[in-house]
Structures are given as C-alpha cells and as structure tokens.
Symmetry: D3
Subunit: 287 residues, 6 copies
C-alpha cells in the first residue's frame, strides 16, 4: 500500500488459507482482493474510505479443509501471529481487522498491536459489543457443534455470558475428509444469491425467530464467518415476519470498530495487555 | 442545515440551558456553535466530516444553576423529549448526540429515535461501551455526591455494574444557591488551559491513579460533562507516571458511536424499544 | 388532613391525571377518594389505620390517554416531582405512597423525601422486595410491550434482575388515539367483577401458570397498575389449579412497606441518596 | 395467650437457653417476658400493638455457653423445631418471630409455618431485606470468626451475596470454657447503658465507618444478637461523624416484617416450601 | 478398624437409621457392611484400596420413615454431629465420607473435621465439584418436591447456582405415613436390577435427556441418594440415544474426593471454617 | 512404557523446551525424568503409584527464553497439540497431565483426549477447582504482568471469576533478551532450598498474607509454574504467622485430579467438547 490520503489504512487478515485444489475448500488464489473477500458486496460501502490490503492468512497446517474445532483453531492462531507481527512492524497500517468468526489469535493480536499503536478488531467480539449497544441480549446463529462450543468460550472470555441468550445451530458443517456427501452450505448460498429458495436461509430465519421469541434475544448475530452471507437474508426474513431487530455480521462490525478506534486514537489498555516490562502495575489484579 | 454532501447529519443537544445572566452558570448565548460546544477543540477533528447543529436544550425549570441531583435530572429529561421528537420529525438528522454526562432522557430518546430511523447516542453509555472494548473494568472520575449516585444508577441501568471498578469524586460542585464561596471548577479549568497548576487536575490524576492501582480499573472515563475538559490533562498525567491506559470522555465517544450506528444503518432493537403496537413480541420478556 | 391520632399519615399520589372527558381514560373527577382509588376494596382494610389523602397526580402533558411508553413516563415523572416536594414541605405526611405500576419519579422522590424525613414507597419496587421474602423468583403479569420493556428497566435498576423469572404479557393495551376498536381491559374488569367469565382473567391465570411451571417463578406480581385488579382473580385461579403461591399487587405492598418504614423510622440511606452537600462521602463509590 | 382483640399474635422464640447458673451465660429465668427479651426498651414501641409470648428456646445440648460455631448452631436448630411445630399446631399465633442473629432453623420454620398458615420471620434475613430497601449494599457488624463465617453462609443462602459489602468483626467472643479472662461484651454493654465510654461501642463505630468509607456499605446491620444492643450507639456515633445512614438491628426488623406478612396474609410460596405431596410442581426447578 | 497398611482410612456415615421393622424403610440391620451400603457393587472397585467402616447414622427422631423435607433433614443433621465428632476424636480415620444426597451436617462436619485434620466429603457437593470439571452446567435428577427445594438450597450454599441447569423430578416419594399405596421406587430398582423394564429408569432417562436438550445441562448428577442406583441405567440409556455425557452419582464422587484430599493433605481453609479462637482473621469478611 | 500393573499410566507434558545452551533458560536435557521434572521432591509421593513418562514439550519457536506473554503462549500451545494427539493415539496412557501454570492448549487437549478416552488435567484449572473445595475464594501468587493478565483470562475462561480474590505479583520475570541484569528467580529458589533467606519467599508470604487479610482469599494458589517451588515455603510462612490456610500448587493438583478422573472413568462431556459430527446436540447452546 502506497502512502495514502485516506485516514484508514487497514490490513484484513484471513484466518487461514488452503492452497492448491482442495475438494473441501474453495480456493480464491490469484483473484483480486475484492473477489477474495467473502461477501464483499455487503461491506464495500464501508471500505470505500479505507485503504486496505487483504492477507490470505496462514496455511492451515492440519490439512486441506476449513478450521472448525478447537485443535484446528489453535493451530491457525499460532500461524496468524507472525503475520500480525509483521504487519505491525511494517508501519503501513493503523488497524488490523481479523477475519473469521472464531477470531483465532485475537487476544494475542491485541497484545502485539498495542506495542505498535495499531488497533485490532475481530469478528466475534465486534458483533458482541455492537449488539449490546442495541438490545439486552443477543443470540448467535452458527453451525457445527464443535464450533458452537468453541464460540461459547469466546463469549465467556469477552465477558458477555450474561448478554448472550443462546447459540443456535442451523445444522451444516464445513466439508471434511470422511464425511463426503453432506449437504453443502456453499450451495445454499449460491441458491440464495440466485434468488432461489434456500434451506439454510429458511432454517436460519426459523432459528433466529426462535431465539427472539423463546430465548430472550433482542439482536441477532452470526458465529462462523461461513454464515455471514446469511445476514441480509435473515434480516429480510425477520422483517417479513414482523421482527424489527438488528441482524449483525462480523466483517462490517469489525471494520466499523476499527474506524472508531483509529478515530479516537485507541488500541487497548496497557494494564490489560501490558508490555513485557511495564512501567506500572496495579497493586493486585482483580476479576 | 441545508441538504448536505456529508454522510453524517447530527444534532447535538445540550442537557439544559440557563438563559439570562446567572451567577451560577456560564451563559454561551449568542455565540457560534463552536464556542457554545464545551471543549470544542478536543473534538473538532471528529466533527470535521459531520454536518452538525447544536441545540441548547431545555430551559432548566428549577432555577438558574446546573443540574446535579436526581430531581433536577428528571426535570430536564422531560424538557428534552420535545426537542428530540421535533428533531426526529424534521427529517434533517441521521443521528442525535445527547450531550451531558448524566444523559437525561437517553432511553426515551432511543425509543423515539427508533420510530424515525434516527440513531441516538449519549455520553455516559458511550464511554462505558468503548471502555469495555479496551480493558476489563473502567472507573469514573466525577464530582458531587448526588451526581455520583445518579451516575451509578446509569451504570446499573446499562448493565455495566460488573465492569465498573469505582466512581471517584474529585471534590467540587456546580455552583448552587446557598453555597457561595465554594471552590469553582471552571477556575481550575481556566488555570489548566493557561498551563498553570490546577488543583482539580492534580486531584483527578491522583484519583485516576488510585482507581488503576487499587480499584481494578484499566480504563479511565468521566462522569459529569463538567469534567470532560480534564481528559487530556489526566491522560498526560497518567502517562507521565507510567500508566499507559486509555482515558475517555463523553463527547468524542458519543460522536464516534453515532457514526458507527449511521454507517451500519442501526438504531436499536425493536424488541428492546418497541413501537406502541409492535407486530411481534417474545413469548416472555427475560432479564 | 387535620392533626390525627393515627400514626400513619400518608399521601397517595396518582401517576397522572387526564382532566375532562377523555374517550381514552376514565375520569374519576369529583368523586370521594375511596372511589378515585382504583380497587379500593382490595386495600381498604390496610388503610383502616391510616390517615390518607389522595393526590390526583400531574396532568398528562402529552395528551388524553394513559401513560404507556418511556416518553410518556418521563413526562409524568417530571410532573410528579413538584407534588412530592410540596407534600414533603407541608409536614403533613410521614409517608408518600406513589401509585402506578411504572412508579414514575420514584428514585427522585426517595431523594426528596429523605431531606424531609418522609418515607416513600412505590408499586413496582415494593412488589419485588416482598416477592423476594416469599420465594426464589417472581414473574410479572403485564400488558403492552413498551410497558414491559420499561418495567424491565425498573427491575434492573432495583437490582432484581436475577430474581425475576419473566415478564408475561396478557395482550391488551391502554386505549390510545389511532387504535380505536381494540379490546378494552376495563370491560374485562367489569365482567370479572360481575362474576362473569373474563378473557383477561383467563389469560392472566394461564400466563401466571406458565410462569410457575416453565419460567421458574415462585411468586406472581403485576406490572402496570391497570392489571392490579386481577390479583384476587389470579390468586383464586391458581389455587383452583393447585398452585399455592402468593400473588401480589402494588398498592397493598407499597402501603405496608410505608408502614414498616414509618414504624422503624426509616427513609433511605444518605449515602445512596445524598444531600447536595453531604457531610461525609465514601472514599469511592462501588457497584 | 387468651383470645385477643389485637390483630398481631406473635410468639417470639429464643435460639437456645442455658438453664441453671452458668458462668458463661446470663440466666433470665423467672423474670417477666419484658426482662427476658434482650434490649426490650429498643422494641417495646413496636410490640405495643402485639399480643406476644416469649419462648425460651431449646436447652443447649452441648454445654452451658452461648451458641457460636456451626456445630452448636445445628444442634440448637434441631431443638427449636418441635417448639415451632407446637406453636403452629396450637393455633394461638399468626406469626412466629425467631430471635437470634444466626437464625437457627429459619428455613425449616418457614416450611412448617406455611403448612399452618403461620408467618415466620427471623433476625438475619429481616435485616438483609430491609437494608436493601434503603441502599445499595449493607455491611454486618459482628463478632467471633466462626460466627462471621456461619453468618456469611446465611447471606449466601438468602441470595444477598451481591448486596453485602462486608462483615466486620469487633473482636469479642461469647464466654466459653477454656478461654477464661477474655474481655466480656456484656460489661461493655453495661458501661454503654450507664453512659460511660465503651471500647465495644468505639470499635463498632470505627468498623461501621470503615464499612461505609471503604467497603461500599450504605446501610449498617448487625450479625449476632449479642451485638444488637449496639444499634442506637452506632447510629448516634455515625451521625456525630456525619454519616447519615440507617443502622438496623434484628428484633425490630423481624417484628415489622412479621406484621407486614400478617397484614398481607402471606407466609411463603408453596413452590419454594412445598408440602410433602404438593398438588402441583414446576416442570423443572431452576436456580 | 485395626491399624492398616492402607493409606485411606475412611468412615462412611449414613444420614440416618430407622431401627426395627418399619413399613416405610428397609432395614439392613445385622448385615455385613457391604450389604448395608446401598449399591455397593457400583463403588466396590473404588473402596478396594480403602480401609472403611460404615456407621449407620443417627436414629431418625421424627418417626420411622426416610428423611425428605427440611424439618427432617435438620433433625438428623443434629443427630449426626456427635458421630462425626467421635469419629474425629477416635483418631482412626483420615477421612469421613458423609452418605446421603442431602448431606445433612456437611458444613458442620467440615468445621469439626478441620480441628482434627480429618478430611470430610459429602454426596451433593462432591457431584457438583466434579461435574464442573467436565462441562459447563449440570442438572440434577431427583424426586420429591420438598427434597428438590432443599437440594436447591445446597446448590446455592455451595455457590454453584450459575452452574446448575435444572433440577428435574422423576415423580416418586419416599414412603411416609398417610400416603400408602403410592408407587414405590425400590420396586423400580428391583425391576431394573433384574433386567426388566422400569418406569423409573425410563422417566429418569427422559428427564435427563430433556435437561441436556432443553436446559443446558452437559453433565447429569443425582439428588437424593435414593436415586443413585439409577446412575448406570441412565448412563446407558443416554448413550443409546447418542448423548455422550458423564452421569455422576454421589458415593463414588465423595469417595474419590476424599482420597484426593487425603493425598494432598487437605481438609478445608482455617479462614472459612475457623477455630473458636483463630490466630488470625481477615480485616473483613467478603462475599 | 511397558504394560504396567499400575492403574495410572500418565504422560506429563512440559509446556515448551529450549534446546541447547540458552542463557535465559535452564536446560535439563539428558537428565533422568525425575531430574527434569521441576520440584520433583514435592510430588514424588503422589507419583509413587503412577507409571509416568515425561515429554519435554514443543521447542519454543520464538526464541530461547521462557514463555511469558500471550503471543508466546499461543505459539507453544500449537506446538503441544501434536504431542497430545500422538500420546492419545499411542494408547499408552490413561491420562495426560499438562505441566505449566499457563496451561497452553488445555482446552484443545480436552477436546482431543475425549475422542480417545484419555483424561487430561492441567495446572491452573486443577488448582482452581481444588481451591473451591476448600474455601470461598482463592488468590494467585504470580509474577510478570503479561503473565498475570494471561492468567486472568484462564480464570475467566474456567468461570472462576467470582471465586478469585486477586492475582498478586511478586515482582520477578523470566529472563529475556534485552533485560539482562534483572534479579533472577532461580537464584531465590536456590537460596531457599539451601535454607537461606530468600527475598522471593519473603515477598510471596507477604503478598499471600495481604491476599488473605485484605482481598478475601481463603486459599492460596500459584500462577506460573516458575513459582510452584514456593508452595512449601509459603505454607510454612503463613502458618508461622497464624494463617491456617491451604496453599496449593499446580503439579500435585493436576496429578490428583487425573487420578480421580481415571478412577471414575471420566474425561469430559461430549456436549462440551463434541466430536466433529456428534450424534446429538442440544436444541440450543446456553451460557
């Protein structure tokens, strides 16, 4: 990125990449960044005043399928750290936006970013913070049980346990060896984008409505970035049923919080994410 | 405000006004909006891309001094409501920024604003939300015991009780009949702006440091807007002592959250702030 | 009220009045206080040892219909404050009982009352406190979604969030311009008092039972004072179904807590509701 | 007690008695009930409209000293149960007031009392409930570490953990074999009642002030009934220092809540304290 | 018990005994300890490395039926205390395992045990602690409403309220005078052990599944020791339905935690369960 | 490990290793496992009935110093995963004990272990669980601010936030390039083991005492495994000052909980740590 007149200079980092021709994961290699960024059309107006690069993220070390369980998330988290560190050291960015609903290496990136004055935001925590601006509790539309439970750990870690009404699972999986022939969420997405009926959309609307009606949710969010494309469809579906509630997704929330942090000159607290040898420390750390 | 090329069209509304020559309150009547907005220099870069008007707020019905206790806050809250309603009805604004640390009529304005698709933000809640992006707990630097306790009610209402480490009082009051001769905070501000030593700055830094060292705060915020001017001085004072923590104030936080809401097309949830006859309701309301 | 031999000298204050002939609100103008106090028969034994006056409350400034949403509650709250202040200044009362489920201006009245040594109680908080003497959690039978959500804010403010199982809505509204022809709760009340079947009673019993069976409620309370008349009917209906649980309503609870405060010589804490210039303050305010 | 014109017919039950001449415990055998009720002068105005009997409680089975630790509390709790049951069966009382700060057998007595329609109140829970009417948090002035910890269990059991700021210990003990020569709290009481300086009063005021200033207490209560006599002295001492906060003690609070329950016709919820074979039960019990 | 080479020397204490021929309770008098210990086969492998005695517990003072409500639990709790004290004084045991789901006198026994360096564990708390090692929330399968509510008090007391998803009742009772002819849980047990269909097993599996599917439980535990025999049947039933979750019962959990405490040389904290005259105390007790 | 008569077959895994001659980290290469396991003497009695291997853990990829901040912890966590997976696949172990106070990859290892029926325990969570068996709250003695804050995240993740009184920092660091000449904790350890005065011991006792006296701790634990050696010294120091409280450290707690899990046949819940395609899932995931 050359020096820019724009005030926002962001690096968007994918959670992982699967190089080559995987039968389990859609490669976007060689495409322009706008094609490589999922659901670009949903956020292009938000990126209009941003100079942005897109990093493809670390190569998944465990195989050629998408990250889904804790083991896989930990492995790509470690892979992301050198990318974040290099981006901070480059001096080219004032914010890093971590892509991916499970936000691997987010806390670590906040720690690194603060040392360089670079703001960092991520998809899960951004949705949670913004949801709490808008209503009492949020629910999460997600898929894959292992991801649901990993995501719950994120909610707990960010101290939103009492603001989350539920995580509801729409019943798909990322393709993975040994489970060939499962229904494929990307096909549902393609159908929906073509204006056709989609089982995934229908289920997501139904689960979102159940979250609002039964669980106490007042705002809808999404878990895995693999379901962020559902946002406009669920928003529309809920409105048609009379539910006038915000439906959030992770990319837009993380981009906007990154702008907010840049505008206010903020990274994170140096007590919360201290230097290796901070100048001051509290008498004791409390919970 | 004429039709504008800018995407942000904000009305900033003061909590109250004291017309005429009060000995207890500084009149800014007749001045341009930039002079009427307290500490304008601290936020002018944030308003650069905003078309904004400034409403002076309702005339305080109880007397010619600043609002400080619950009784007074309730009275000016009611006075603010017609202003908010008229602004929404005018169609001129896409967001309303309520000025004043005690944010009178904030919840009511969220209710009204949603009916018109107008985002509303306010000073106390905005600081709290942003503080929780940055660290585990925040403290509030404030003055006047009655205001401290009123402000605590806001923290509870916004469900940040477990994220607030403390409210610390620096020991001044708004001038009020019957208490002539008290030390006057505006004189402290004038001293500080002239580069002189200020007892208020010194106390605020000391209390902020105590909040960080003893109470578990990791971010500093301010309560009454009468102390928002302290923000750069406390930030500087803490850094000099080795505390690398964010120090927030209400105007900047509320302006930036208003932008975020406008960019994301958000007001609040229609379940949380329902119409008088909403199309849907949850089976039950939970806490 | 002349000087009395009775130890209780109470002023009961209505939340608002609608003068003249409103098609949306039943006027009780010109009637004796016993006729103006809703459901007097339910509490007359509790008032037998009380010298009491009834204040009709402030004229609703927004129109000629009952208060229901946040905007309207804030406006009548401000209207109530001078009444409370005058009552305290008069020296005629040792307690003020605020009528109305939404208890507008309750916290403000506690603040004022303490300065004069006058106890203040109100309908929502009184039910909550007494319910927690009796069982683990309570539910609230209420109507009108905007009122439900406003009422939830009261529960949060009074720190009973973890003691409230649910707010359940029986599906009526206060009459309001633009919504002519809706079923009218007062007709249900009339039917019930005549010993006829009432849809409102039936729904209230059903929702109360659902709260007990499904939500974890162990005590039943009511929200808007417009449903306090249901108390004996819901108590009876639940007993007939085998549920031996207390069913509370606001007037009786507030009257009895006012007596308790008077007997014990209590208003509220001077730390919680301080004077404008209190003699002492805590080192810091905690949540 | 003969049939009475008074609406309140209360049995006050001591936690235990030590018959004979104990060197560790003051016998009140053979005295009229007004002499046997500790600090009668502090509550006689509250008992003026009550027909009351005083039961001396069970004989302490462990020895001739006052109850202080968990083991001793459990033993006298069991001893109290037949007394409560007999009182309920007698039909003579509409309420039972359990005396003693540690309220042995309170939950059991609520269970028994409900079966007979007899209200039951006790000293610890009554103070906690009333304190929460008055301020955000209360502290407990108490003595004896084993009692402090037992009392904490009561606070947890009654779900007031987040409303209790601290338990502060003034450093005395009930006399007990093996610890002869310790300073004796009853001597402090005698000094105070004679108008002399008392170390216990001084310490209690100092600890109460620390609770208010440092711990976040806004209301003061007492733990063991052995310190209830301090109530007027601590109230006075705090006022002299400028702390305008309520100071509660257990007898008066329990008597007034018993009246409230009787007036409202309440015992406890039949879900919370069910019959052995209740007619209904919730689908599941929640916390 | 003679001096032993085994490192574990445990006394298992029954909650109560019913001597003679009761029609409401199965006497095991005169049998060897292995026959007197319910469901011995389920725990014999855990007792293989333990030298253990079995105390029959106190004679129930209220009658010849099993303990079920609060009144009865309090009475047997007091009866258990001398047994615990004598066992500690004997020096023969390094741990006491209190049998019985309602764990009467557990906190009292911890207090006594610490004075003698004897570890104490019990059935309810042990299940709760171990369940929280394994999943986010547990549910409790139990019977008898009065026991459910008593058990809830234990959960609150042990501070597991936010880790318990529900208590679910399978609809039986301990036999009790006045209720002859009720279905008898021991007959269900006999059927299940003979390999026949059992209504109790079926209901327990159904309620456990509902807890997992609807309430948020991730681990299953049992309440009254009268249902501990269900553990292997519910474990098997859930696995057959595809639920791979731990199912705990009280004896095994308490035995293993007793071993853990003995191995680590632990009883309980001397602050939490202090001596009558401890050498140190905290400045204040917090919740 | 050959087939063993012992029931416990454990693999202990170090958090990381620094091969070669680092000036920042003590190499134990080539020594027998008993010399490579820190503070072996403190746990050898607990390992007496265990067949155990010691894995040196992953090579630290970031440099030749000990892990201390979030970035470093994430990197070694990823490195540990293949070791855990291989150990599970080997079929040689019935439990894995993760060494290291920061327990990198613990949740991931629980996920992996369940698939193989292998129990996993770790140092931080084990101390927390056992501490809550013993007292109301625990404090953590730790060093290095970045580690304190990372450790706080563990406490939150394990849902012990309301059971942790404080984390107290004794003021040392792991050696790290760029900070030569800092006081070295291992020298303190050597002094203490030789029976000499040690500043680290003195500070740890002082901070532990402050945690007990001021913060509300009733049990002491340790954070980084680099301070586990302090356990006997702090225990002794506290006892000398009159504080009779348990002092825990991570190795012993994790070993004993591993035994408990093995004896009870437990890993973790399959809802909490599901397979990639579990047979069942809850209707919704709750917090």
């Amino acid at each position: 990125m050359a020096t820019s007149a724009k005030k926002y200079r962001f690096l968007l980092i994918q959670p992982f990449q699967i190089p080559g021709n995987s039968k389990y994961y859609l490669s976007r290699e060689g495409l322009p960044k706008e094609k490589r960024l999922m659901n670009y059309d949903n956020v292009k107006h938000l990126l209009a005043d941003v100079e942005w690069d897109l990093d493809e993220g670390p190569v998944a070390p465990y195989g050629d399928w998408a990250v889904e369980n804790r083991e896989e998330f930990c492995l790509v988290a470690a892979g992301r750290i050198p990318i974040v560190r290099a981006a901070c050291e480059s001096g080219r960015y004032n914010a890093i936006v971590l892509l991916g609903g499970g936000e691997p290496a987010f806390l670590e990136s906040l720690e690194i970013g603060r040392k360089y004055g670079v703001a960092v935001t991520s998809n899960a925590s951004s949705q949670m913070h913004i949801a709490c601006l808008l209503g009492n509790k949020f629910s999460v539309i997600d898929f894959a049980e292992s991801h649901n439970m990993y995501y719950r750990s994120l909610i707990i870690q960010h101290r939103f346990a009492d603001r989350c009404a539920s995580i509801r699972n729409i019943g798909y999986y990322h393709p993975r060896p040994g489970y060939e022939g499962e229904p494929y969420l990307n096909q549902e997405k393609a159908k929906a984008l073509r204006g056709e009926d989609s089982q995934a959309v229908e289920t997501a609307v139904k689960e979102a409505e159940a979250a609002l009606s039964e669980d106490g949710a007042e705002v809808i969010t999404f878990g895995c970035s693999g379901v962020f494309w559902l946002q406009p469809f669920v928003q529309k579906g809920l409105l048609e049923k009379g539910w006038e509630v915000p439906v959030l997704e992770g990319y837009s929330c993380a981009i906007e919080l990154a702008k907010l942090k840049v505008n206010l000159g903020l990274t994170v607290s140096g007590i919360t994410f201290p230097d290796d040898r901070p100048k001051q420390r509290p008498r004791k750390v409390v919970l």
